[in-house]
Symmetry: C6
Subunit: 228 residues, 6 copies
């Protein structure tokens, strides 16, 4: 079992993720996807001594470092210690970029012997892939590599504003799990909730849980929303 | 009659499926489609001595084996006994892949004299087919072969997250049956329900039933949801 | 007047259908379209001595025969008596298939002097037609032939799962009638209802009626749903 | 003023239609569009001695004649008397068909000095027009001709089953009026209602009215639906 | 300030429109867009001595003149006095028509020194423009010309039947104002309401107002709908 | 921290924006996007002595100056003092325009050493970009430049009338923040509300707030809408 880095989340997924699995984290803008991803990587490095690769396609590495300091997560320090490799892949480089980027990620994983990977976001990474068939092949290839490398992976997935469907409609089937971060407007207030429609090989909770972004990172309420 | 491998499901379809029929199992991510498929194959092999082919297009064979051990379904052992052939077809091989994959499945069926087949998922298998007309021809061809081989088949069908329509809109008409696995959010909790809109030649129930994924696999409640 | 073969349906359409008319029967999977079509043909042959052609594009002829035996409708026997011609056109044969299939149907009608025809389904038959304009021309041609042959026709139309619109959006205008078979989920139970938005030249009921698939075939409730 | 042929309709549009205007009659299948069109033509010929052209693109002329006899409207007799010209244009003749058909209609109008025209349906007539721009040009040309010919025109417009938008989204702006025939399912019963969103140069009612298809044709309730 | 020609409308927009601004008037068929446009032009000419151009793309000039006589607006007389130029541009002339039409409008404005312009409708005028980018450029060019000519302009915009979105989705941003004429079905009656989502540089009302088409033209209720 | 120029907004975002961040301001027509943008620039120049560039793609510079005088914001004066550069980019110049415009903006920023930028609107600026992939690359490039230039930026985003989704569905992920200006019709009155789904590195409020356009510009209510 691989801890998610969030104890309150581990509690509802039998203790953690299966090694080498690929888990999607879907959410609208501001849902907390990147925070969850960094928490997974940072705590993996500091608490379980697992190196991690964080590939960012949306936020520059410099801003990510700056913004995560508010949680006292010093990514720059971990980079120096070779515990984290923060890949800034925001500026995609044309149609060949998908493979180049995947190579960069694979190389980074091997370099530091990473056991954790975050792709933030899979939507960003696959921008240049045009057909669903190519995208499906690409994801199959990536999944195979990560399974063999025993590298547990979180891929964030962008749910555009005012929509609820995700990606191309197949990613959630090829992934081993799906964590939904909801941030819907309810009685004139944004409510953040997390639930897990799918986690292969895990007897996961079927409830929705309120969650909060605290100074220590994401904290999932221990009480299901239905019982509050 | 061919048992579905799930006694609580057999009870609402007059005891089982018609031999050689092709039944769709539609559901969103995490609905339990693969579990139902493996249960159909595993129990077919162990309880009715019918060999089965399980063709997976979404989850690697190795992960599938690992995850099914939680139900004490040892697929590797059945593979050694030639009772199950687990085809890993996740990495599709270009546009010609559809026919190549169908050939692989047909060969596997003949090899072990399989009377059961699971295609997980039909959506994945048909990724490279571009027009509805070609897809329809392909399904017609496959159905014919399976009817002649007297091979009862479950095809899972992916209902993308936050959508409810399935496939290209014709598969449910060409199939002999349609089992819907719902996993909708209800009062902040995912509820799993099963119902059967269509089962040709079977006086099937018209009710919705709650179902559960237990340590022994899928278990359908004997009491219709409307009466609970 | 041509009886629909279902006395309880005849009662709400002034006794039957106009000779040579083309009536659409629209419904989702499992709605009972094929059962209604076979009942129309079988009872036409056995009770009114009218030969009939049943062209199937979705279910193999062999399975159709097997499944209809549960209603004691022995199609094979009627085929031997030249009262029914069961055309298995599931495996469409490329782009030219539309005309080839139409020819096959016309020939079959002439061969046994059929006065009844079922096309199951019109959606399946028109798979290879790509533009709405071509489809419209095709339907115009077919309607003309059937009117001249005085062959009363039912065409089933596929309403895909989780959708409600039908066909290309013009078939219901070119047809002489439209019978809708609803099978919607209501309080966790599939309810089957029938209503008739359109029947040219007939003072048809405007009510919805529950209907049942009984051991003798489709039976429409005599009491409108609104008054139950 | 040109009577619509339906006294109960004339009452809510200040007595009738403006001469040379083009009025759309939109409705779903079975709404009563053709009945209204024939009533407009038949009563125009018999009560106001105005010749009329009825161009049908959906129902064959022979069936139309048969079906209208139930209202005692003998179209064949009026054809012999040169009071009505019933153009059967169901079988469109390829891409050039639009102009050919418009020519046929114009010629028919001149031949019998028609002051009334029904196009049933405009959707059918424009099947072969592919772009919105071409369609708009076509309608502009037709409107100009009809205005100069002082030929008051009803064009039926097909609202496909389970949809509510009409045509290409511009016809209702280029026409001088829009009559909507609703036939919606309400408490398990089809209710027929008529209302008039638009009638240029007419102080038309803004209410919805129930209407009925009686043995004498369409009859609009004199009491608005809101007050019943 | 330029009066809208409708005193009851001026009251809710601080007295009138800004000179040289381009205001969209969006509405479904029958909403009163043309009436508002003619009232703006007619009253501008007769009460403020401002010449105006009315470019019609949907209704022929002859019908427009006829229909406006019911309000005692004699457009023909104003044309003779060179106070109004009524451009009939219904029959667009192919792909080059957009520029030709814009030239015709610009010339007409210069000819009579017009300070008011109505384009009825912008949707019609832009029919031949195929891409959003070209359309945006076209509108930018037109706006620039009208601002320099100090010609206050109303552009009607077609909201198709049973839809609510307008145009290509950018016109409302490039325009200086947006007046929405609603004509929705409410309790079986068409209700006409006006509201103003946007009016740059004007402290406009944020309320909805019922409005009526009276023998003197459009009259907006002085009391907001919410307080009635 | 960079003040937004709106004290009542600063209060709910921990005092202001992060330097060099790119914030989206999404809203329907009339929501107040441009007012917010000008207020950000004007107050930045006059109260914090930060020069600013305002690039307008929708409203001409001349009209913008005229309309902002109602708030006593004299943009012309600030232009003379080189505190603001008002770029009028409404007339885009073909497909190469995107890069030309970006160059113009970058040059303007360097010229006056701007620390604030408004792009009004990003939708307008990206009109000529045709694929999502190119658009994503373009935004990545722009973000990088602005981060390096430490130029805090607001980009308005057009939410078309009667729709709620924004842009191409990725902009809100690549931006550092998203401020939504709602202007929805509620009980026959347009209500203006602001909320902030996303603000990276900021512990922003999750509430909705009513806001008003006052003679001094935008003023956000200090009390969340839920508590009023």
């Amino acid at each position: 079992m691989v801890s998610s880095g969030i104890p309150s989340l581990d509690k509802i997924i039998e203790g953690g993720l299966n090694e080498g699995d690929v888990i999607l984290v879907a959410g609208q803008p501001g849902a907390g996807k990147s925070t969850l991803g960094v928490q997974f990587t940072y705590n993996g490095a500091t608490q379980w001594n697992q190196a991690g690769v964080y590939a960012t396609f949306v936020e520059s590495a410099s801003k990510l470092k700056r913004n995560m300091l508010r949680f006292n997560w010093d990514l720059a320090e971990l980079e120096r210690k070779k515990k984290i490799n923060l890949l800034d892949l925001v500026q995609t480089i044309g149609e060949r970029g998908v493979e180049v980027n995947l190579d960069a990620i694979m190389t980074a994983i091997k370099d530091i012997g990473a056991k954790r990977l975050v792709i933030d976001s899979l939507s960003g990474m696959m921008t240049y892939i045009q057909t669903k068939a190519e995208a499906r092949s690409f994801v199959a290839l990536m999944n195979r590599f990560l399974e063999e490398a025993k590298c547990t992976t979180l891929c964030t997935l962008e749910v555009p504003w005012a929509r609820s469907d995700i990606g191309m409609g197949f990613e959630e089937f090829m992934a081993d799990g799906l964590i939904v971060l909801e941030s819907s407007l309810e009685q004139f207030k944004v409510r953040r909730r997390l639930y897990i429609p799918k986690m292969r090989g895990v007897n996961h909770a079927l409830d929705c849980y309120d969650f909060y972004i605290t100074p220590e990172g994401i904290n999932v309420s221990p009480i299901p929303a239905a019982r509050r």
